[in-house]
Amino acid sequence: MAAEQFGFSGELWGNGPTPGGFYSTPGGTTTPQHGPTKHTLHPMTMGTSVLGVKFDGGVVVAADMLGSYGSLARYRNISRVMKVNNTTVLAGAGDYADYQFLKEVLDQKIIDDELLGDGHSFSPKAIFSWLTRVMYNRRTRFNPLWNQMVIGGFHAGKPFLGYVDKIGVAYEAPTIATGMGAYMAQPLLRDALEKKPNMSQSEALALLEKCLKVLFYRDARSFNKFEFAIVTEAGVEILQPRSAEANWSIAHLIKGYE
């Protein structure tokens, strides 16, 4: 089209490689032959584990503040927890851009609901169900939101804790841990819950902090700065970022550690 503007007729470039197509790279060509990429299946900046636990009178959800760019600890002050409304919080692991996109959509949804002015607000279960449908429908269209989302809330006197991921798997449980946390933190969470089924808020926070510390020691994509989001009858509280007291003094005893 630019050629026509300048008075050229026919091709601008003939008998040679297609523009941009000088090299052939493994994993796909650099030419836009198939049009723009419409269904991204490659996550870029990612967040690691998200943890959640129910306690007596509420629920607390935790996530560290790191956005990893592959093995590079690139963004070290990003928030992966959001307040949805006065009864619900959401934390996202996985692709950070997809989490940000969902955050925008969900924020707008809450505003639109407010605008109806009928006093209605979404319960944690309703948000959870909506999110499950969204994630599953995206997966079915081969255009997933590459995340593992943890939804925590408190409604009608009961705490709520649920998990939804990029393929639409959704379940509720008294303890939830995604990613590396599923292997390292989940046993700790379940053990603590078995020993004390109705733990207090401070015990729940201490438990999560212990789990985050373990993850910092052993998860190569984690970071020692995290946020807690607590939901109780009184509403939502997202605490100021904090760090765990890590003790690396025995590290030199571990084979391979320099």
Binding site: L116, D118, G119, H120, F122, S123, K125, A126, F128, S129, W130, R133
Partner: protein, 233 residues
């Protein structure tokens, strides 16, 4: 919906009125009377269902319809338009449940149905609905009563009457209504309001009553209606 016309048939008159909506409201006002009262512990819907001939099978067609377990509605105006809106409302309610796994709150349903009704006043090639709806619901431990107009406007009522003789009906209700009315008394009052404009003998086959309370919405059976009528007479 017709795609042949791209322009709306509901257009402004020089005086600033949408004449089609005015006519639709006239169609409602010419329809069979319906009455609703919101009591402290529930809502009653009542309507006249007079058929033109004794040959009609009265119990095969209903005017009081359930939308969800705890929301019901009734109308005044054109029956076929009503049927469409009932189907719309039910679909809207089920879609809501599919997305949120929760029963649709009455306020949300009313807003969505009213939105549909408004669309038909501003879309190509369609006419407004010739019905006004009375929507009764119960959620979060309290009763709700709404009216939806052909224009798409909706109002919350404590008690109201629609259809033929609605002005007299409303006057009657204004005198009889009080905040502490219980559902049983509300049913009586509703039947009496209908009786004001009723020609002939009221029987369990020519009126319909729906109740909405904490156990949900239900349409009364003819024998239940007969019991209420007996206590009036």
């Amino acid at each position: 919906m017709s795609e042949r016309y791209s322009f709306s048939l509901t257009t402004f008159s020089p005086s600033g009125k949408l004449v089609q909506i005015e006519y639709a409201l006239a169609a409602v006002a010419a329809g069979a009377p319906s009455v609703s009262i919101k009591a402290s512990n529930g809502v009653v819907l009542a309507t006249e269902k007079k058929q033109k001939s004794v040959l009609y099978d009265e119990q095969s067609v209903h005017k009081v319809e359930m939308i969800t377990k705890n929301i019901g509605m009734v109308y005044s105006g054109m029956g076929p338009d009503y049927r469409l809106l009932v189907r719309h409302a039910r679909r809207i309610a089920q879609n809501y449940f599919l997305t949120y796994q929760e029963q649709i709150p009455t306020t949300q349903l009313v807003q969505k149905v009213a939105y549909v009704m408004q669309e038909y006043t501003q879309s190509g090639g369609v006419r407004p609905f010739g019905v006004s709806l009375l929507v009764a619901g119960w959620d979060e431990d309290r009763p709700y009563l709404f009216q939806c107009d052909p224009s798409g406007a909706y109002f919350a009522w404590k008690a109201t009457a629609m259809g033929k003789n609605f002005i007299n009906g409303k006057t009657f209700l204004e005198k009889r209504y009080n905040e502490d009315l219980e559902l049983e008394d509300a049913v009586h009052t509703a039947i009496l309001t209908l009786k004001e404009s009723f020609e002939g003998q009221m029987t369990e086959d020519n009126i319909e009553i729906g109740l909405c309370n904490e156990s949900g919405f239900r349409r009364l059976s003819p024998s239940e209606v007969k019991d209420y009528l007996a206590s009036i007479a």
